[in-house]
Amino acid sequence: MVIPLYNEEDNVLPLHEAVTSVLHTLGRPFEIVYVDDGSTDHTLARLMEARRLEPSMRIVKLRRNFGQTAAMAAGFEAARGEVIVTLDGDLQNDPEDIPVLLRKLDEGYGLVCGWRKDRKDKLLSRKIPSRIANRMIGSITGVRIHDYGCTLKAMRASIMKGMHLYSDMHRFLPAISRMAGGRVAEVVVRHHPRRHGTSKYGLGRTSKVLFDLMAIKMIVSFVSRPSHWFGLLSLPFLVLSIVVLGLGFSGLSSGGLRSEGVTVIYSSISVLLFFVFIHFLAAGLLAELILRTGDFRPNELLSHQAKERP
């Protein structure tokens, strides 16, 4: 169980009670890792209070507020279970749904997401943008689930340990997990309106999400052979360059003084497009180089999992 918290002092104790009671009914050994993401209120004090009753609980305290993804990554690092369940600290998800997720996970999935089918949030500022974003992320990354934003997720630790989350990557967890070889499923979960505290999300992340999406698309689809990806990207420019050059020459052959200008401009544009083509090819080669020297090995990750799951 990994629960990131940021300034949720009123929610800590009810949350903790709900979570422990659910986990106890499961009859499996468990641990709870709370991540205090540099809270400025009494979140930590409340956690310490809860800890007196539940000594198996662990608290990871971050030096300052680093954001949800970082908090989760810290939680993943600290977690020792085979299955990791993440849950938001705001009580909007119901811990009662955890067993449902776990059952689904046991069917052989690598990651099970919650789907807040009946969301209790403001329509205009939260639900609609989120729906659009989900559609987009779904169609671009190819993992079609309905609710990317839901924090209630259950996943196999073996998948997450090989990945290193950073900067808002939690949104793309399903896509990443599929890249790492885990099948993704979703389960409808309940959703409650916020009772305490304030939401830490808002609009104004659109451009960021767009660029992140572009990056994740590239990473997910062609991470093993980036030169292919860049190569594909470069081809249209080569074609365009040849076409423009042809246009220029055809202008020249039709004769006339004015067409000399045509030739100059067309051929320079053609050369420019050719530059783009070369640039992409070079970028692809560079990317290959980077990938070879980096420590991300998708193949190793897969074989590692294959060993684990006979």
Binding site: A45, A73, A78, I265, L272, I290
Partner: protein
């Protein structure tokens, strides 16, 4: 390698609270004996033990006599000497490596500020800050220098939004773990407080009274300004977009791309409606060039994303202050536990443990004091850390 001679480590004496690191890069401006006596007197007044590390950054025989004098005083002095000039960052790093204190203070090789100011900085460290920067008040250097320095600091403040007023002040105090985490290179030592802030350390500044300023007066070379500017650009990038290069390059690239598309769309419109020939419109080339530039910037961003993605393990974003867990009654056991937890970089996270101890302490004493309690007991922390310097 670069160090020609290092004074041998002394036999373990009493633990050291403070290491004063002094880098020397020129002959005309040194007053090492003055620093040694004044600072050690001031620190001793507050009951702090200290050592001095002098780094000779390629000055050579000119200061032989002075250094020999220092070792003769009997104070705890270490000397690092370079064959040639390697620059401030390398010199400081070498000094840090030789130092043993839990808190490290750097200073100019002469009494730039009164020696009593050292205690002011250290008091802030005791309050719980991790990095304290000096802020020279009532500066005595010429107007031109002040103006340049002020402009520089203002720009850095605007760019990084870290509220510090005197980055160029040589007087700074920091906890050892700040330097364990942040590696210095090039000119980045200047921005150490900003990097520290990004790593989640508590950074503050203290105004100190400026005594004298030796060193260059007037305009620096053109290259210096260019380098400062590039440094600032680096800082902007490092503080804002390290983890997401595509957000930076993508935004910039799409701006150019959209501009180029706009120009070309306009030209197409003109051609379709007015029937003008595109051939005598050099604007067409500008439009295409802008689009090309946009595409290139975006693809650089994509390359950056690949770099980050493949190296995400090394550039961990979050900094764990401590992990509080079950069997943590004895120090020994939980040190092991934490090692296991953050196996990928054990020395870095060392700083977490003392804080953790405090939390535990306050927890035992009563929960309401959980937050306020985390400030006190820093002296104890220093003592503890200095007690086993071998742990690095």
């Amino acid at each position: 390698m670069s160090e020609s001679r290092t004074t041998p480590r002394r036999a373990p004496g009493p633990p050291i609270d403070i290491s004063v690191v002094v880098t020397i890069s020129g002959t005309d401006e040194v007053d090492l004996g003055g620093i040694l006596s004044a600072v050690s007197r001031e620190l001793a007044r507050e009951g702090r033990s200290c050592e001095f590390v002098f780094v000779d950054d390629g000055v050579g025989p000119a200061i032989d006599a002075e250094l020999a004098e220092l070792t003769a005083t009997g104070a705890r002095v270490k000397i690092v000497r370079f064959h040639q000039r390697f620059g401030e960052a390398v010199a400081l790093t070498a000094g840090f490596e030789q130092s043993e204190g839990a808190v490290i203070v750097t200073t100019a090789p002469y009494l730039q500020v009164g020696a009593d100011e050292f205690n002011k900085l250290l008091a802030k460290i005791d309050e719980g800050y991790d990095y304290v920067s000096g802020w020279r008040h009532q500066r005595v250097d010429p107007f031109l220098n002040r103006l340049q320095s002020r402009t520089f600091n203002l720009l850095v403040r605007l760019v990084t939004r870290v509220k510090l007023h005197d980055l160029n002040c040589a007087l700074r105090a920091m906890r050892r773990q700040v330097l364990d985490e942040i590696s210095l290179y090039g000119d980045l030592y200047r921005f150490l407080p900003i990097l520290a802030d990004r790593h989640g350390f508590k950074v503050t500044e203290v105004s100190v009274k400026h005594r004298e300023e030796k060193g260059k007066i007037g305009f620096f070379g053109f290259g210096v300004y260019v380098r400062r500017f590039l440094d600032m650009l680096t800082m902007l990038f490092l503080t804002k977009f390290t983890k997401r290069p595509l957000r930076f390059f993508g935004l910039l690239g799409s701006f150019f791309f959209v501009l180029g598309v706009g120009i070309n769309a306009y030209l197409t419109l003109v051609k379709v409606i007015a029937g003008d020939s595109l051939a005598d419109r050099p604007l067409l080339i500008l439009g295409v060039l802008l689009m090309v530039m946009g595409i290139q910037l975006i693809s650089i961003g994509l390359l950056g994303e690949i770099i980050i993605f493949t190296h995400a393990k090394d550039i961990k974003e979050h900094r764990v202050e401590g992990i509080i867990e079950e069997d943590d009654d004895e120090d020994g056991t939980d040190d092991e536990e934490d090692r296991e937890e953050e196996g990928d970089d054990p020395p870095r996270e060392d700083g977490g443990h003392p804080e953790q101890d405090e939390e535990r302490g306050s927890e035992g004493a009563g929960l309401a004091r959980g937050r306020s309690g985390s400030r006190k007991g820093t002296r104890g922390r220093e003592g503890r850390e200095a007690g086993n310097p071998g742990r690095r």
